[in-house]
């Protein structure tokens, strides 16, 4: 299987796994148990990981809170901040292409009296900084805009957006979950007050994520309980996963300079290969401001789930934003939700189209891309032949 769905999670680096193992077998203590070595070792490993995470994003260890998923980091950031500043203002700004964990959350807040502005993006998926500037009001308390969109790969002008928030004195959260490990992150340059990353998105394990919180920014934890993570996130810490996240950060910091250009090359190859393939294939996202190794597009006449399934049968793991493939476990067809990201970047919904997302990792090779380029035409052809829409308008 050629794995090309790395925005959904990467294969952990073997060095990460090796680093985690002793925390299952030997240093299995509870990091809150400071008075015997087995506990204290766990604590110290966790603090070493915190320093590595901090170092990776240009922060101080004190500003890092460990959580269990990207979703949890985003939820603590947004709900935790708003619950703490309940009376400071009722206006929130996000973009219209945020992840569910931001979009759904913020949308629900409307019923609690919040007003939400969802900034439009252009066809490349970019928020126009001056739109943000104009949207900020006196009662704006929070802006949350992702760094990289996992579906269309677009890299926002986060530095500029942060600068605007800073100059207007509005708290700025960055969902950098699809960015970390692929795009350089420096919380100072980005001018952000909070930033979310998750280890599984850059060669770390599932179950460990982090939230950066700038000094002076006050949050209320989502969960009540013990003293862990200064009360921002109570509950016994997942020490092995946290240790793995530390290692993943250290590796990414050291090796991005090597693998990012390589991913950019592969991306170019795939882009160019696809470009000449069908006149009914349309790229999504921005041509240059995109996550290295990320290529996304939609193909007229064919549907995304079928495309995914055929590619899977041919040995490729990719993603699609199609409704059909979205929530296959749902009890009801009404719970199948198509990605609103594609609509936001101008993909017409009134024609038959299947979207595909290809996100590479540093494990991918040129051969992988060659193979995909070889298999795609026959697969698309097969589905086109089956489609009542194909050739109809010709």
């Amino acid at each position: 299987m050629i794995y090309l769905d790395n925005v959904a999670g990467t294969k952990p680096d073997q060095r990460v796994i090796d680093k985690m193992m002793p925390y299952f077998t030997e240093h299995y203590g509870n990091p809150s148990a400071h008075f015997y070595p087995i506990g204290r070792e766990a604590f110290e490993a966790m603090e070493a990981a915190r320093a590595e995470v901090a170092d990776f994003i240009g922060a101080k260890p004190d500003n890092i809170v460990f959580t269990a998923s990207g979703t949890e980091s985003n939820n603590i950031a947004l709900k935790g901040f708003l619950n703490h500043s309940a009376n400071k203002g009722k206006h929130i700004i996000i973009s219209e292409i945020e992840h569910f964990s931001v979009d759904t959350l913020v949308t629900k807040l409307i019923s609690e009296g919040y007003e939400v502005t969802k900034l439009k993006v252009d066809n490349g998926g970019l928020v126009n900084p001056s739109d943000l500037e104009n949207a900020i009001r006196k009662d704006t308390v929070l802006v949350s805009i992702q760094y990289v969109n996992p579906e269309i790969g677009t890299i926002q002008y986060t530095e500029k957006l942060g600068g605007i928030c800073k100059s207007k004195g509005v708290t700025f959260h960055v969902d950098a979950i699809a960015a970390a490990g692929y795009v350089e992150i420096d919380v100072e340059k980005l001018n952000c007050d909070m930033l979310s990353i998750a280890a599984q998105n850059f060669y770390g394990p599932k179950g460990a994520a982090a939230l950066y919180i700038r000094e002076g920014v006050k949050l209320m934890g989502l969960m009540d309980g013990g003293f862990q993570e200064k009360g921002y996130r109570s509950g016994t810490e997942n020490v092995p996963a946290i240790v793995g996240m530390g290692e993943a950060c250290a590796i990414a910091k050291a090796e991005m300079a090597e693998y990012v250009p390589r991913l950019e090359k592969l991306q170019k190859k795939l882009w160019e290969g696809l470009g000449g393939m069908f006149d009914f294939l349309n790229f999504t996202g921005h041509e240059t401001r995109r996550r290295p190794g990320h290529v996304s597009f939609w193909i007229e006449y064919i549907e995304g789930e079928s495309l995914l399934m055929w590619l899977s049968l041919k040995g490729f793991a990719c993603a699609s934003g199609s409704a059909c493939s979205s929530n296959i476990l749902a009890e009801d067809e009404d719970d199948l939700v198509a990605s609103s990201v594609l609509t936001a970047v101008g993909v017409p919904t009134d024609i038959c189209a299947g979207s595909l997302g290809v996100s590479m990792s540093r494990y991918n090779t040129e051969e992988d891309i060659d193979k995909l380029l070889e298999v795609l035409p026959e697969t698309v052809q097969k589905l086109c032949e089956m489609s009542p829409m194909y050739n109809r308008d010709k």
């Binding site: 006449y301 995304g304 789930e305 929530n327 296959i328 198509a338 038959c352 489609s387 009542p388």
Partner: protein
């Protein structure tokens, strides 16, 4: 390979769709669905003078379940007479496929509807009132 969300039968029909294509001299064609919703199903019927499905083909834009439902529907239709066609419910398609995920049951419903539309078109092409299909369907439902 690990099992997917679909049964082996569904996967078989997805990979090897039966009766895929068009019938140039079809005497009944039905199309249902909506591109925006992600599914369009089209059924081509060739019904003989003695009311038997002589040939049937489908074209489908849609997910795995939609393709497999159409393919299975055509298999169940061939050789049947009009009465039997009207009796063919989405449940029968689902059963024949070895089940569908709950959220995908609507694909089998679409197949049933496509058959209805094709039948209506067939009656129309014969100069009869297509409403007869609805009436017959209603009667069958009542009898069951």
């Amino acid at each position: 390979m690990a099992k997917g969300p679909y049964s082996e039968k569904v996967m078989d029909h997805f990979m090897n769709p039966r009766n895929m294509g068009e019938i140039d001299d079809a005497n009944g064609v039905g199309e249902v669905g909506n591109p925006a919703c992600g599914d369009v199903m089209k059924i081509f019927l060739k019904i003989s003078d003695n009311n038997i499905v002589e040939d049937v083909k489908f074209k489908t834009f849609g997910c795995g379940a939609a393709i497999a439902s159409s393919s299975m529907a055509t298999e169940l239709m061939i050789g049947k007479n009009i009465d039997e066609l009207l009796q063919l419910t989405n449940d029968a398609i689902v059963d024949a496929l070895g089940g569908l995920p709950p959220a995908k049951i609507h694909c089998s419903v679409m197949a049933e509807e496509a058959i209805e539309e094709a039948l209506k078109d067939y009656f129309k092409s014969k100069g009869e009132d297509p409403a007869i299909v609805d009436e017959m369907k209603a009667k069958i439902k009542k009898d069951n």
